[in-house]
Symmetry: C2
């Protein structure tokens, strides 16, 4: 009965707008829930059963179910199946839904989505966990000396909130760094110190988009960004990533963006570096649709070969790019200082809202960081780190060499702190990552970062966290596990 | 023509639901905008003209316009009037609005609302600015010693993000403090360290409510909370505050809350202390509507007379209260550490989402603070501060004594760092605050904190920031300005 209902609705939808099948199924299921035909708490047939009943491919069914989970319509309980979330409103009319009698539930739909984990493997930090730098080499004693100096000189204002976008010397130091190393043309005034990329993203989404507006995200994507946009009520439209980075098609442009979020320096997690042509294409699309581009210049600090490409902010002719970065990867994560560069006409509004919403502070820490940069310690920490990561990367590449071939290709190793081994579409990368976990190693399945697409399988492997000796020791173990999986797959 | 349109619509609305007049006008104007009858960029008649054309009271018109501004439908340009914001969607259907051609605008509607200032007087910190503590007495040298100790002992994990809701010794210290001083029964596990009340509020709104859900706010309200709920897409329903705190009526219950935000210890800004009966009433309402209570235990540290009332969290029988506080007022604002206590069944979801959305850090600072509390420095800082603020308060009360009478009454002076002088409804408190500003003093007009009501005029006066000598010097100046205004008013 459910399958009939869905098929009828899909038939109707297929006549409009040549919507892809998984989107038709998504819409049909969403409507069934909003109309109350699928009621809160109902258990859904398994994806296998749905595949059979609807006569669709499993990929199509899984894509639709994933999207509905991400948006909080469905909730999975381990070992028990997938259910319609208790809190699904019965009607799309806001008024009606807020006055309808409400089941007692703990979290909101948004809350369910925000607090769900995104990955089979949890947050274990072990050799090869991607996205993590090695901060064990951070010069703690020097840092403490600088902090002490500023605490000794501290005048009361330094203990207060920061009213003007951050400590002026730090904003100057960031501006100088970005002008020289990232070719971002900017005024000191445009730099706002935030508590890192998550806060920068949230601020951009809050100020530049309204609830229900569309944000283009890379598919596969950085999950921190997905959650920030979820929290701010944006509608995520996934855009496939190819070897040149985010690759929007004319079909994508039929869902015009209000915001375009991209990691052009070293796409997370595929590691693709966005080509110059693609950068210009993204800017042209932003111009066409009056969209803002949020450039997360993730991992731009660690480039191992060739000159860096200029940032999108550096190419931007009409002030549509907001540029963000953080100090976590070069200093240490818990520092919680990052920066956001906004176009001049937005400076006043961003500073005001940032103050009102977040009450930024930590001025003594900002002062120490400014001096750390001014005295050249940042540049030498960066040099040392680049050298050390290059060795680790080389060691990992050598360990993986025996696995490579038609069925296993490395992408994204020119830059950053992780690389990606692309595997055949039919391989179960989640199971493989779990098997590798039994050795006490953490790698992430590429498919766990996918929003909609089903054609990206692989392993995301970090070399930032474990020291060289660990990579020498564990690289061969990882390589052997991968090789045996590939052999099994070929049989 | 506009007035005809609005009156017709209001007549229709008045038949439903006996809606108050200002709400009818609000709805009629909102619909006119959504239907495109009032187009983006249109200039509105002045409130005076609307009052005349519609035959309504000025208060009614102003209340409706205020609400529309807060929600981002209207935008005021200084010296030029009030306009329909460019970005007002033409139809309430999300789909249609996101595909409609879009004017190029800089900020979203939400962005306009979030970055607008809320007060005639800007953020000048001068004698009598409310909401600010005196952190000039903060023991910087001791604090630096404690920090150094922890930096010397720092192991790498201390430089990382905080994965489990914060540094365990700090969570223990907070739990001990709350059990003893605020009668909050809790497990250490329920304490989550945040970057302060703004982050605590945002996290609660994101996890417990969906876009469009109703939050009850005190009227007048703390503006930081208003902005946090605006940013998270909640629908604010103002509930009047009387001398016993937030005072919901049966009429209010016709807009049932998903969240109830309240500052029971010392209501900001009226200073009302919520009575025990009222506390129980609020909890009963929460039970009836399956709502969550967000208790911001603002200013509970500084009570000058009588025993403290137990917190709502202490009275809560069925785990519906989330309790929050911060260290800014006792230590220093830029510290950016606060705490949120959540019911046991929410602990897992809150920790996960807090990590994913905010990537909390600052562990060395958390460790220093834990020891600061454990060694008794927090308790003695509190004692010293209480003593010092009591003197300042006394001095301010004496200076204000000549003004008091039928037309000027002090409320909320038993506790906290500010008091409120209530003035007649017909007095223009904004103009008065501005006039006082010309002496280099900052006080805030009570009406600037009002969301909807028109019957709360007064001055909100802080005694936390200026030292005693400053209050001795400027108190009489303030008093004289107030007295001359009252004389003018009586004539």
């Amino acid at each position: 009965m459910l399958s009939e209902l869905l098929l009828t609705d899909m038939a109707r939808l297929s006549q409009q707008d040549n919507m892809p099948l998984h989107r038709q199924l998504y819409e049909a299921m969403r409507r069934a829930m909003l109309d109350g035909k699928l009621a809160a708490g109902d258990r859904l047939p398994s994806s296998r059963e749905l595949t059979h009943d609807l006569g669709l491919s499993r990929n199509t069914v899984v894509a639709a179910l994933n999207q509905l989970s991400v948006e909080g319509y469905l909730v999975s309980r381990v070992g028990s199946g997938t259910y319609v979330h208790d809190n699904v409103p019965r009607s799309p009319q806001r008024k009606a839904s807020s006055q309808a009698p409400r089941h007692h539930t703990d979290l909101s739909r948004r809350g369910i989505a925000l607090s769900s984990t995104f990955c089979a493997t949890q947050l274990e930090v072990q050799p090869f966990t991607p996205g993590i730098a090695d901060f064990s080499a951070f010069p703690v004693a020097l840092w403490q000396r600088l902090q002490n100096k500023h605490w000794r000189m501290t005048y009361p204002e330094m203990l207060d909130y920061s009213y003007c976008g951050g400590h002026a010397p730090l904003r100057r130091a960031v501006a100088d760094y970005l002008r020289v190393f990232r070719s971002v043309p900017l005024d000191v005034d445009q730099v706002i110190i935030t508590s890192g990329t998550q806060q920068s993203l949230e601020l951009c989404a809050q100020l530049l988009a309204d609830h229900g507006d569309t944000v283009w995200l890379e598919d596969p994507a950085y999950w921190g960004a997905v959650k920030a946009f979820m929290a701010t009520g944006l509608r995520a439209h996934p855009v496939k990533v190819d070897q040149h980075g985010m690759a929007p098609t004319p079909q994508d442009e039929r869902t015009p963006p209000r915001l375009i979020y991209t990691t052009p320096s070293h796409q997370y997690p595929t590691g693709a570096v966005m080509s110059l042509a693609r950068r210009q294409h993204i800017l042209a699309i932003a111009r066409t649709h009056n969209a803002w581009v949020l450039e997360d210049d993730y991992d731009s600090e660690f480039r191992f070969s060739g000159p860096p490409l200029s940032s999108l902010a550096g190419l931007d002719q009409d002030e549509r790019v907001l540029y963000m970065g953080s100090f976590s990867k070069v200093l240490y994560p818990g520092l919680k200082l990052g920066y956001l560069v906004v176009p001049k006409r937005l400076v006043g509004a961003f500073k005001q809202a940032h103050y009102d919403l977040n009450r930024p502070g930590q001025m003594p820490l900002q002062a120490a960081l400014a001096e750390f940069i001014e005295l050249g310690h940042f540049a030498s920490a960066l040099r040392r780190a680049r050298h050390s990561y290059a060795q680790r990367r080389q060691c990992l590449l050598e360990a993986l060499a025996p696995c490579l071939g038609k069925n296993a290709q490395i992408t994204g190793a020119e830059q950053g702190l992780h690389l990606c081994v692309r595997l055949p579409d039919a391989l179960d990368d989640k199971a493989l990552a779990q098997r590798i976990g039994t050795f006490g190693l953490t790698v992430r399945p590429l498919s766990a970062y996918c929003l909609e697409r089903q054609d990206a399988k692989g392993l995301v492997i970090g070399y930032g966290y474990a020291p060289l000796a660990e990579i020498e020791r564990w690289g061969p173990v990882l390589s052997k596990a991968l090789l045996s999986e590939l052999k099994r797959f070929q049989r």
